[in-house]
Amino acid sequence: MQIVNFSFLIFLFISVIVYYAFSKKNRWFVLLVSSILFFLFASSWKLLLYLIFGIITTFLGTNLMEKYSKKRKLILFLTLFSILGPLFLLKYFNIFPLTINAFSKLFSLDFKVGTLSLLAPLGISYYTLSLTGYVIDIYRKAYKPQTNILKHSLFACYYPILISGPFVRYNYMEKELFEEKKFNFDNIFLGFYRIIYGLMKKLVIADQLALVVNTIFDNYTTYTGFYIIFAVILYAIQIYTDFSGCMDIIYGASKMYDIKLIENFDSPFFSKNLTEFWRRWHISLGTWAKDYIMYPLLKSEIFQKLGKSCKNKFGKKYGKLIPTVLAILILWLLIGLWHGASFRYIFAAGVLPWIYLTLGQIFDDDIKKLNKKLHINTDCFSFRLFQSLRTFGFMCIIWLVACSPSLLGTIDVIKEMFVFFDSTLIKNLPEIPVLIIFICSILVIIVDYLNYNNINVFEKFKEQNLLFRWFILFSIIIIILIFGAYGPGYSASEFIYGDF
């Protein structure tokens, strides 16, 4: 079962009815049963064993840490090893044979190492990292561990977030999942609006654009020059509407249970610089990585020593900058690896963002001084537009690498970008409803703009007259039903971030 699926909507509908049919005290139990059923429908009972293993080890680990406080560190390492081990083995182990094979190819050696072909359970990287954060929090004594294994299980496998996140923290989710809540139709309506909006983004924009993007990148030697630039821009829209559309469905589904999740996107394309962009894009991954990777690194003994040593050698500014830049490098390399066990992802989602951010940190003051010297008005619409376009442009370079067949293949794609293009080829591209996609994209921009200005569009929408609301809703539903990329003949229905 996928989230963009008729079966999912029926499953959600039934689950919500059963949820509110139970007493407030026991509603969380319905969510647990729903989550297990969802996992079984979407995956298999064999793969459920991985999840059960992760749940049991983290449950035992966190409670043992509480009981045997002197051996907290040992228990922490054992617990982390037991949950990160399977993740590493199932998703990232292949980086070793792939590296060896890449070097073998580079030096024309007749040597190849086989890769592991293991099936990873649904949402393994999402639940593993959420559980990892929980274990670390318990180690840090940030809060008390959950002593009810069933409640602990629900935190680990709450089904709407199992496929594409967001990453959640236990102290936040505890209140949302287990607090007794009163039934309110408004939650059902708000959840429904959001699901419809998410389906529109995913099926009408992302999956339709995917047809064109995939055709161009699969045949980049034919679709050269402008086509590649065009495909990267479309990919930017595709990946955003795909991922954020998925999030809208997840938030909508959760809202129906009166569970409020922390937002994962906050109008990223309006960002003025890359730092802001990463604060607004996949927010939960960014905060997770900062809390559990970057800050612990900076506070570690090695980094403290490095900071002191750099301060002595290069002065105060660089004494602070060098350890930070190094910690950011490790952080981004791990984020790149999380996106996929390939050099392409490590470079696109790891090294490139790190270079951008580092250069930004180094030259930030100089750029400000330059703007001042050139009398550039930085407090006007045109400059803000320029900043947003510049940020978008930088991100397009990242997505160009991500779309290329491999890291070395990126060079070929870039070369083809500068080859003359044949304008007649446009008729060979898959036919997509351009006008409808354009109208829906405008709607997304308006919603994002309002959100950027702290206006909750869905709440505002709920306040409108019934006829207006229904007119808009049915218009979107009809657009989805007619222009959505679903059914036989379409295969792009899996979420891009569902693979990570």
């Binding site: 049915f474 039903l481 059914g487 003949g489």
Partner: protein
């Protein structure tokens, strides 16, 4: 009390919303369906007056290209309809018969037996297009649901959702909308003016093969099971059944299979008629009466209809409805039918003169 009232209003809103959604969904489903011969034949069947048909011909193109209900009415007063779709699959038959019996009480049902022979052919057996040929025309019902659930997972190994809800399959048909016809089909008032017959301006000379043999070659176990299930089912129905093979360029291998099928059908007490045995009596001319190896053209169809209506007259007791006032609407259709037939014949004659042969 205030909250109770608000909840009632909200529930009412949800119900109205869902009803509107269902109506819109059904509307979109109908307007997106491709209007082709399959849909016209199936949809047109439901607008026939209740219990007005004495005979229904169920099958594939070997039925709707061959049997001309309006000619049979004009010649013998037989009221019939071709409840037939392209590349019909043998497993469709039980469900098609059930569908027929919902609105009609025919005295005779003819079943196109070629479906049992070609089903084992890799290129002509079950596939999604052939299943959609039927499901697209059938209105939502328990019978339709059972057809999809019993066959799609078994023979196609596919998810059934797109078969249940045609919009999933057809929502991309945005450029070929015929809203007026679609609406008529949705409201069940679409009339098939040829009673399910197809008239094509096509001709091609084909080779007549020597098929005569008494040998029997079994059909696959799967197809045989489908045949046996059908025979068991029709035994329970108070209606006469006739299994027919219409004329085509039949090779010996096909005849061997038909001999086997014939034996099974006759052993169960039903009549099997291979009209390929009667080329001379029908005066079939292989150089001008076909448009490909599997189908007669309008000239061949006329000869086939002449032969079969004579056979029915002799062997079955179907009433002559020509002087029945209840069937005036049939008389009104005849002039248009003649016009179409004459036009098609003229065109085919020219094509024969110019050797403008149809290529499948």
């Amino acid at each position: 009390m205030k909250e109770y009232k608000k909840n009632i209003i909200d529930i009412t809103k949800i119900i109205i919303f869902l009803v509107l959604f269902v109506l819109i969904f059904i509307f979109l489903t109908y307007i997106m369906k491709p209007i082709n011969v399959n849909l016209k034949n199936i949809a047109g069947f439901y607008s026939e007056d209740k219990n007005s048909l004495d005979m229904v011909y169920i099958g594939g193109s070997a039925a709707f290209v061959y049997w001309q209900p309006l000619k049979a009415y004009e010649d013998e007063g037989i009221t019939s309809y071709n409840f037939a779709i392209n590349s019909v699959q043998a497993e469709n038959y039980i469900y098609m018969i059930k569908e027929v019996l919902k609105t009609q009480n025919p005295k005779l049902i003819i079943i196109d037996a070629r479906a049992f022979q070609y089903r084992d052919d890799e290129n002509r057996g079950p596939n999604s297009t052939r299943y959609y040929n039927l499901t697209t025309g059938l209105p939502f019902s328990k019978n339709r649901y059972e057809y999809i659930e019993n066959n799609v997972p078994n023979y196609l190994n596919e998810d059934t959702i797109a078969y249940h809800f045609d919009l999933i399959k057809y929502h991309t048909n945005r450029d070929i909308l015929d809203i007026k016809t679609s609406l008529k089909m949705m409201l069940g008032i679409y009339k098939n003016n040829y009673k399910g017959a197809a008239v094509y301006q096509r001709v091609a000379p084909i080779e007549q093969q020597d098929f005569q043999t008494n040998d029997k070659v079994s059909i696959s176990l799967e197809t045989e099971k489908i045949l046996i299930n059908l025979l068991e089912y029709i035994k329970t129905i108070n209606c006469e059944f006739l299994f027919v093979v219409s004329p085509y360029s039949m090779p010996k291998e096909d005849k061997e299979k038909f001999n086997y099928i014939e034996e099974k059908i006759e052993n169960n007490g039903f009549v099997f008629l291979d009209t390929n045995e009667y080329y001379d009596k029908m005066q079939i001319d292989f150089s001008t009466n076909f448009y490909d190896v599997n189908h007669t053209n309008i000239f061949g169809a006329e000869k086939y209809t002449n032969f079969l209506e004579e056979y029915i007259k002799v062997n079955y007791d179907l009433p002559d409805r020509r002087n029945d006032d209840n069937y005036d609407s049939w008389d009104k259709l005849l002039s248009n039918w003649h016009k179409q037939i004459d036009k098609t014949k003229d065109k085919i004659k020219t094509m024969i003169e110019e050797e403008d042969w149809y290529e499948a």
